[in-house]
């Protein structure tokens, strides 16, 4: 595995043009991961840095993110069940500790006088809309807070500022997390741009068409108009586009597939009533990240979010998702949201790996580094991942567990039986949450049988024995493209022993336990 350290060659510019022909590091992708990495490299003054990415960031996740800095709010029953999941969870805890310093760096570059950190606290509500999954995840959150000795307090839901649901959807329990807040994702990205320009990095408002090199090394990137930039190191941080970019130079059959987790959210201007002053959210819900509102400053509020694994990368919004988000925000968060003015529709693709774990590390080709697969908390983890990757690019030791190496077998965290159970629980949660109605004589246990049968049959038809997460199972069952990608990839490991079992690692990055 290659592990080149950075050269400190000077920037070489094409004659008369502003665009470089050479750089020490070319970062492909201007989302949170690419931008925070560039910032860290510039801060360390380790050579010339070019970031390539379209300024509209269309289809990107970061520009659509709620940017909750949540690790405990994101806890599910799965989060601490295995060593591998715990390692992943602790990545979030360590990332949390990086944010105060990160914000100090960015503050003076903020694009407006709206604060970048829009709140420092969260409230988690438990209502009865989201079925049993809400209850068990709510308990898992409290359990995790206690295990890691973090502050929280049970409060009367009616005391949450701004919280004003319809009476039939009101929460009967709520907890206050005084140290888990959110940032304004779009403001942070704009601040990073300004700070990077100030620090001498070059931001190119273009896309990379392909990586240039051989079977053994990557030496340059080719932009959409044919312009070439030679690079000491190429970092692919293009979110959901990363996999296809890597494959332009290197067709690795065992590179884990990533799937677009298309998500929708909206930013609205409050027109009346008491504003939210904290993140107010449900636990993570069926196949998705729960319903939440995130204050944005300036009278704006972010309402999110949906999650749907899809075959094609796009920035479309489903009408069903608009209905879902609008209706449930009014019903479960604040009924006055009905008259709020939507100022922005946010749509983006979370990079979702087949095993749900990030892909961060050197590729087998010299000079090529991959960082993606952060799914639903990549914004939060970006400053920490930037530190890790900057270390690795400099030839120093990294700070996150090696379990996230990009060329790996999928990490196994469950049995097929528990995967089926999980799928059933998520499906039921989604059924009730979306307001689906069954005939009165149809009981929940009949619905359970139906979903269980679907899951069992899906495994039979796919012919795989790796236990999939509920979202991936749903995706594979729902369309032929998805099924084929999942089955083909997993079959490359057949007869090759087993997939990676959870390692003995019990600590994540920070040993926070």
């Amino acid at each position: 595995m290659s592990n080149p350290t950075m050269r400190s060659s000077d920037l070489v510019f094409a004659a008369g043009a502003k665009r470089p022909t050479k750089a020490d590091v070319v970062i492909i992708g201007n989302g949170a991961l690419g931008m925070f990495l560039a910032d860290e490299l510039v801060e360390r003054q380790v050579g010339s840095v070019v970031v390539v990415g379209p300024s509209h960031r269309d289809t990107g996740a970061s520009q659509a993110a709620g940017a909750m800095l949540g690790c405990f709010g994101e806890t599910t029953t799965e989060s601490l069940r295995t060593n591998a999941a715990r390692t992943r969870f602790e990545l979030g805890i360590s990332a949390h500790d990086k944010w105060p310093e990160t914000l100090r760096r960015l503050d003076e570059f903020a694009p407006s006088d709206r604060p970048l950190q829009t709140t420092t606290e969260s409230h988690i509500i438990l209502n009865s809309v989201g079925a049993e999954l809400d209850t068990v995840n709510f308990a898992a959150i409290i359990d995790a807070l206690d295990q890691y000795d973090k502050p929280w307090k049970e409060i009367d839901p009616t005391d949450i500022p701004g919280y004003n649901p319809r009476p039939e959807s009101r929460a009967l329990r709520a907890i206050h997390l005084p140290t888990e807040g959110a940032v304004d994702a779009r403001g942070v990205l704009a601040s990073l741009e300004r700070r990077l320009r100030h620090g001498g990095a070059i931001l190119l408002d273009q896309t990379v068409r392909r990586l240039v090199g051989s079977d053994e090394e990557v030496t340059a990137v080719e932009l959409d108009d044919g312009h070439l930039i030679e690079a000491g190191t190429v970092v692919v941080a293009a979110g959901i586009h990363s996999e296809s970019l890597v494959r332009t130079v290197f067709d690795v059959p065992d590179l884990m597939p990533t799937f677009p987790g298309l998500g929708f959210a909206m930013i609205a201007k409050r027109t009346g009533g008491e504003p939210f002053t904290s993140v107010v959210r449900t636990p993570n819900r069926g196949f998705a990240c729960g319903l939440h509102v995130v204050p944005q400053g300036g009278g704006l509020e972010y309402y999110g979010a949906t999650n749907r694994l899809v075959h094609t990368i796009s920035s479309v919004t489903w009408m069903a998702d608009v209905r879902f988000l609008a209706q449930y925000s009014m019903q479960q968060l604040d009924e006055r949201a009905a008259t709020h003015e939507v100022t922005k529709w946010c749509s983006g693709n979370r990079p979702v790996t087949l095993d749900g774990f990030p892909l961060v590390g050197w590729m087998p080709l010299s000079g090529l580094y991959l960082m993606t697969g952060t799914y639903r908390d990549g914004f939060h983890c970006a400053p920490l991942l930037a530190e890790h990757v900057a270390n690795e690019l400099q030839g120093k030791s990294g700070i996150i567990d090696s379990i996230f190496q990009p060329i790996r077998k999928p990490v196994a965290t469950r049995t097929v039986e528990s995967s089926i159970d999980e799928y059933v629980t998520h499906s039921l949660a989604a059924w009730f949450e979306t307001g689906a109605q069954a005939a009165p004589q149809m009981t929940t246990s009949q619905l359970t049988d139906y979903y269980r049968n679907m899951a069992v049959q899906t495994y039979e038809q796919l012919g795989v024995d790796y236990a999939l997460g509920p979202d991936i199972l749903w995706y594979a069952q729902g369309n032929l493209h998805g099924a084929r990608r999942v089955a083909r990839y997993l079959r490359t490991f057949k007869g090759d022993g087993d997939v990676d079992q959870p390692t003995g690692a019990t600590t994540g990055t920070g040993g926070t336990r």
Partner: protein, 85 residues
Amino acid sequence: MPADQPSVADTVRSLVTQRLNLNGYSQDLRPDDNLWSLGMTSLTCLGLMLSIEDTFEIELPEEALKESTFRSINTISAAVESSRK
């Protein structure tokens, strides 16, 4: 193709019979019969697709991954033939 090799349509028929559990029906299965009407579901279609690709060692083009491709022995055979070209 040597004479003793089964034709594409014969192989497709036997995969369809097996994957869709149509053993009792197989004699009467006509090349144009609508498999969806014979009880194929989106899930059994998924397994059929994978076994077709495995058996013929082909990768159906993206645009062929749709319900109509798997409508009958004829439509499947046509998709296999065109992927082999």
